[in-house]
């Protein structure tokens, strides 16, 4: 009985110390220090990013002196209303590129889920050993700064006034724009039939365009009908050409006798700005060894483009459209700043490509067209 009290006091003290350690983030600290491999260090960091636990993720960096916390968050969470700000990290995978006793390079593939589908982001992260734990050296984010300037823009815009409901029959109306499909090609893919081609606005007013296709079997009966959805530039200015792509999953070309194309064009309000230059386009390989078309987008006007979609059309030696691919850019296009992009090209299509053309669909929060 005499020795019970000191033992009781020691046990209670130990419990209280333990609780205080947990409360003060000791577990996290332990986890951090217990990243015993580069793989664990990167996985723990990305897990925190996935949870949007920025404090804990930032604490895992080895170079907090170089990287500001806000810049780190902006690098991963997005800014300027770009696509990343509407995305969440769905999954990731990590694998080593190089490793030694005290440093390593890990390649991480981040798959973000967004309103326009999954977006992949592949990064190489340098990881170094500090004491017994591994920590990630986060690449210092480089954000383009737009210098103060005045960019003169002569805005050109079309508005449409149609026939009123009270007007008599026969009272003059404005006709829908004249658009034409200039090419169409049915392409067999392993799991689908894909219709690719181009459509041109031959009119002098902007057109809101949609292309639909119906596959017909040898009896002339429809097999399936699909539209171009977002694989087209819906708003076509006068004389502008847009590629289109229509996918028919689960259908093989041998089932198809003919294709019925249908292009619909409507008048709609539109703006001629912003103008986006597509620079430094070239066929290349990405870090995963896949064929891509690379380039950079330069917003030549003074208004920020929040979300940009790249549409690329590829031609063979005869000038025939053989493929159309697209990709969303997860960074906003600030005025006069080059933003890189890369869109996938299928392995079997890449060797046949002789020429290509890139078009940019743009969406601004303050302006929809």
């Amino acid at each position: 009985m005499k020795g019970f009290l000191p033992i009781f006091i020691i046990v209670v003290t130990a419990v209280l110390v333990g609780m205080a350690w947990v409360q003060s983030g000791g577990v996290a600290l332990h986890e951090m220090h217990s990243a015993s491999t580069p793989q664990e260090a990167v996985e723990a960091l990305i897990t925190n990013v996935q949870q949007r636990n920025w404090d804990r993720a930032y604490a895992r960096l080895a170079n907090t002196n170089d990287v500001e916390k806000l810049a780190f968050i902006r690098d991963l969470a997005g800014s300027n209303g770009n696509l990343r700000t509407y995305s969440s990290l769905q999954k990731f995978s990590v694998w080593p590129v190089h490793a030694s006793a005290d440093n390593a390079t890990m390649r991480v593939r981040l798959t973000w889920s967004s309103a326009v589908g999954p977006l992949d982001d592949v990064r190489d992260l340098y990881v170094k050993k500090e004491g017994s734990a591994w920590k990630v050296v986060w690449p210092k984010p480089q954000f383009a700064k737009v210098p103060p300037q005045v960019i003169p823009v002569n805005y050109l815009r079309w508005d449409v006034i149609g026939r009123g409901a009270s007007d008599d029959w026969g009272v003059q109306n404005v006709d829908n724009p004249n658009v034409r499909i200039t090419s169409m090609n049915a392409v067999e893919r392993p799991d689908r039939v894909v219709i690719v081609g181009e459509v041109v606005n031959e009119d002098t007013v902007p057109a809101y365009v949609n292309v639909n296709a119906t596959l017909l079997n040898p009896d002339g009966k429809p097999i399936d009908q699909e539209g171009s959805f977002d694989m087209i530039s819906h708003t076509l200015l006068p004389k502008q050409v847009s590629p289109y792509r229509i996918d028919f999953p689960g259908i093989h070309l041998k089932q198809v006798k003919s294709v019925r194309m249908d292009v619909k064009a409507m008048l709609g309000p539109a703006s001629a700005d912003p103008v986006i230059a597509v620079t430094d386009q070239k066929m290349d390989k990405d870090p995963l060894g896949k064929n891509v078309l690379r380039g950079a987008l330069v917003n030549q006007s003074g208004q920020t483009v929040n979300i940009a979609q790249v549409l690329a059309v590829y031609y063979d030696a005869n000038g025939k459209v053989i493929w159309v691919s697209d990709g969303y850019v997860d960074q906003a296009l600030l005025p006069q700043v080059a933003i890189p992009f890369a869109v996938d090209v299928p392995e079997d299509v890449a060797p046949k490509i002789q020429n290509y053309h890139v078009l940019v669909n743009h969406y601004s929060i303050n302006q929809s067209s």
Binding site: K239, A272, V275, Q281, G295, H357
Partner: protein
């Protein structure tokens, strides 16, 4: 013989009670008229038209007056008189009145210059009650271009419709087309727009950031200015790859600034029309 005579007398008496209606052979819409009747006694008169039905009590053997408001619509009418001996009926047609209104369709609302048979004008002739005038009448299409003399083309309407086709003029701008018949006239305006660009040419000037490329004023083969907003595609190929810009024409000229490193080739196109090509060496 006695029996046959009895039947004839009874039939004559029945027809007298039954009555007959005799409307005019031709009636013009909006004009009142009378329907003569035979027989005797009271009857209920019905007038059934394309958009109107009337019912009233009449006396057989007297003229039945039909008001002008009851025959506004052209078409087949049925007059019925029902007396004690049964009903008799008679059909007649009401024709459209004189031309008074015109509905005019001018298609399309925009047309490229110098396009053959591109403008289609169709006029429908109606009377004051919106009946299609089926009788042949002459419709005058008066064409007033923005520049040049105006002219009139008379076209005879067949079964209420008169139409013509004509080519657009070489000069852009609005064309007023007026369809006239009797005292009615309907104006429409069609916009003649420039055709595809012709002799598309670019020139380049070095700037601090690269090369400023701009077109000469973009015109079609008739010398009309291609409308602002028309897309002109610039393509530049150098050692860094390819650069493309789809720039709209503004104030008659399309321009863009291209980043050029070393020697480069710059070409231009608008729709399906190709322009000239510029080769840049170390210097312009």
């Amino acid at each position: 013989m006695f029996r046959l005579t009895t039947y004839c007398v009874l039939l004559a008496l029945a027809l007298a009670a039954y009555g007959e209606l005799h409307p005019p052979a031709q009636v013009t819409a909006g004009n009142g008229f009378s329907i003569s009747s035979t027989g005797q006694g009271d009857a209920t008169f019905y007038l059934i038209g394309p958009s109107h039905v009337a019912k009233r009590q009449v006396k057989l053997g007297q003229d039945i007056a039909v008001d002008s408001t009851e025959v506004k619509k052209a078409g087949r009418y049925l007059a019925i008189a029902c007396g004690s001996g049964g009903c008799s009926r008679s059909a007649f047609y009401v024709m459209a009145a004189e031309p008074d209104k015109i509905s005019f369709l001018l298609h399309p609302s925009r047309v490229p210059v110098k396009a053959n048979d591109a403008i289609n004008a169709t006029a429908f002739v109606f009377d004051e009650f919106h009946n299609l005038v089926l009788a042949p009448v002459m419709v005058n299409f008066k064409v007033i271009p923005k520049t040049g003399p105006s002219f009139t083309r008379p076209v005879k309407a067949t079964r209420g419709v008169a139409w013509m086709r004509m080519a657009s003029t070489p000069k852009e701008g609005p064309v007023k087309v007026i369809a006239e018949v009797a005292k009615a006239s309907e104006p429409r305006i069609i916009q003649q727009v420039a055709s595809d660009a012709c002799n598309l040419r670019i020139k380049a000037t070095r700037t601090a950031k690269g090369v400023l490329v701009e077109t000469d004023p973009v015109r079609d083969c008739s010398g009309n200015a291609v409308p602002d907003g028309t897309i002109v595609s610039f393509t530049e190929i150098d050692g860094q790859g390819k650069t493309t810009v789809d720039a709209p024409i503004k104030k008659g000229i399309a321009r863009t600034e291209l980043p050029v490193s070393g020697s480069a080739r710059i070409s231009v196109a608008s729709g399906v029309v190709m322009g000239n090509e510029i080769s840049l060496g170390g210097r312009l």
